[in-house]
Symmetry: C2
Subunit: 499 residues, 2 copies
Amino acid sequence: MIYLNHHLNIASRSRHPSPLKKIIQFMAMDDMVSLAGGLPHPSLFPLHTSTITASSPCTKHQIKLDLSAGKAENPFASFLQYGSGAGNAQLRQWCRDFTQHIHRPLCESFDILLHPGNTNAWSKVVNLLCERGEYILCEEFTYPSAQACWIPLGNYAAPVAMDAQGIRDDSLESTLAGWELNHPGIQRPHVLYLVSVGSNPTGVTMGVERRRKIYEICVRYDIIIVEDDPYFFLQFPEYELNPKTINDTSTSNEQFLASLAPSFLQIDYQGRVIRLESFSKTLAPGLRLGYFIAHPFFIQRLLLATEVETQDPSGLSQAVVLSLLQTWGMDGYLTWLRNLRHEYQARRDWMIRAFQHEFTLVPGSQHPDLDVADSTLVAVLDAVPIFSFVPPTGGMFIWAQFHLHANPTFQRLRNDQSLEDPEKCFADYFWEMLVEERVLLTPGSYYHPWQGEDKVTTQARGAKPAVTNFRFSFSMTTREEMKRGIARLAKVVRASWEL
Amino acid sequence: MIYLNHHLNIASRSRHPSPLKKIIQFMAMDDMVSLAGGLPHPSLFPLHTSTITASSPCTKHQIKLDLSAGKAENPFASFLQYGSGAGNAQLRQWCRDFTQHIHRPLCESFDILLHPGNTNAWSKVVNLLCERGEYILCEEFTYPSAQACWIPLGNYAAPVAMDAQGIRDDSLESTLAGWELNHPGIQRPHVLYLVSVGSNPTGVTMGVERRRKIYEICVRYDIIIVEDDPYFFLQFPEYELNPKTINDTSTSNEQFLASLAPSFLQIDYQGRVIRLESFSKTLAPGLRLGYFIAHPFFIQRLLLATEVETQDPSGLSQAVVLSLLQTWGMDGYLTWLRNLRHEYQARRDWMIRAFQHEFTLVPGSQHPDLDVADSTLVAVLDAVPIFSFVPPTGGMFIWAQFHLHANPTFQRLRNDQSLEDPEKCFADYFWEMLVEERVLLTPGSYYHPWQGEDKVTTQARGAKPAVTNFRFSFSMTTREEMKRGIARLAKVVRASWEL
């Protein structure tokens, strides 16, 4: 194990175990009469049994979960009581076994800690590692809620350029190598925040080769990698522009697992990866349940923070998830996940087909002037390239880059010397046109890393000129709605581009 | 409304609403096709219906809650989806109506925000108001987990002396009036943290007259009062040393409510009270559910923090509590609470009867040399006063002050000039004797407010000499266990006091 202590911020280094911990050991002594604990009496809880109807992973039949059944005397009551902070031991063990099976972490020394969702998990990590004024390495386009957590704490983003494989190793290397020169007096970042599968918003997934390169740079510059990975199991095959094969949904769980891009845990030989796992996208967000996988050094400090900041996640959520996972078994859960990713894959395909219905989609190589990755598709209307995107192989989002060179309104805005950021002006105007036509996209500006007041315009951010981004989500709408929405988009494009 | 902005710390002042909020309004427009939201599809949640058997507040029969039943189309599914951050609107409204009915807040302008338990609520308040280096006003003996949250953040306690009514107004006044003199260069505290009913650990409850005095001082010195009140409904009648009347359990809900010490909300005409409500002691801790009641100014900022730090509490917990409260109705819930406090009152009485079985209990007035409050009872053995306590009228704890003058071991320790803190030495030694005899109490030192490294000994803290405290909890043990535990205590006392 490498030395990790210097990564903790002052608050985390100041945390000490509660003296109550010491007392708990004594409570377990034979014949002890404990007048020390301050728990409410479980006989006075008004909830007694709970049954849930749940999906079966394999069949259309529903199954019944009885939360009051189990080896222990009414385990439901124990989920209604205060927990230890780390979460139910059986559920933690399940998550540990699952982690071992799925991720095969290279570091044998890892621990599990339950948390109430990745939003809270990331907040705890920021409060574990980051000090006011520090920069956090992140993707060129990053998840806004993650940023909204760190900005008020006085942290800034150090964005790393991306391509179809996620952040680029050359950009990470040059950012770090040139740090002292470009940021005199400011500490070099030591935390990298990544949504490395089906990234929100870009939809891209980082393959194993890129991961190895990124990891080695993190070793050299002593960076902690925080892998926020809610979409890990929503990875799907590449989109086929002209499908020759009927989609094969009959793969086995083994084939499914083999098809997934690996986690950084598989590469991490030093314990410098903190992984945030969530049940929000695989079971349900309202559970507010997930877990940390990390080196025991980090888990121990995260537990100390958990004890005074949140305590255990909801006992009901823990009880339901444990019962569901135990009933399904690991293989059943994998079958559930395998089917689930097909559902989201189908939605991705609906969305891109809807694009194809209104635009002509051509490979990026046909438009070398656009400077886009090979795997990019370009949506063309009347021979004019309108937007391009990397067809996602994971997650819920398509990240479209609109190419504005040929747009008359943008040309006017760019020639207006009084405008500081014509790209942003165009994006606002275009978004309002879309709203008038009743189709709603998320503006790309929401995902711009916050680098401070002086770096908000397209030029100051060093961003590509004459483009602007919008995020399409394919998770929630029906196929018909997608078709209708994209037809409206095409109508607005025709009007704006004067086609 | 008074100006409250200056109470926020830098982080809270830097929080801005998420741009996603703006988009949500547009989603609701007629005929809008939204490709903006990033939610998982509810048809892909594996949980469908849930039924819970619950207590009836009035009878021994159990009732059945169906979480999937309701006016809306399967409301259970909506609890499984992401929430707004503020919590379910119906549950918030229920809490609002309940607050109006129970507390009749003097400030008509108050809002409700759900939170995942008072541990998290207090952590959010510290991160809302306090800056590193600031002092927080608190009770002379304060809740350790509350402190464990603020100590690593660089905050210190400014303890206020207590009597049988909680913190003393003269002590609060003198602490604040003399602040600049005693703490040159350090900002005067602007936050008061209180467990003002059935305080943990002291068990005391603050009456209305004391509350008015405290509140007026807080107005004069511009202090925000944070009322952490999980035991509010566990208030019970005074303990009768020689009961003449059979305990009357036939009171009405109206009589019950009239018997409760009021919240600071009933006195607060300026919006300077932040109240932390919890279902942990009234329903079950594993729900991890409670709510803030505060001025909209504070609620709005707490909501911004909630969105990026925790999101909604568990949807399952919200669904269960809403269903239970709606089924019981407000009157049913009050009946439940009224019965619940009788249960804890009975446990308090068992504990004090167990004291009476081993010691002679006499009013504090019979031992003027002990300098204890009038309502104090003194436990005497062979004419030697051993410990004294204020019989609690709320909560789960008895806070015993052991009087060490007559103890031979303590006398030896006190005469040992090499010892810095003979009281603490005695407490450690006595606690270990108790453990050997298999009875476990919580050492009073756990509840000492942290004032810095230089104020840890009894003398440096300015604490009363020749006494030491232990906390007895009466919530979890049976009557027989209490008897056995107190008999063991008496045995250790005889040995240690050489009686």
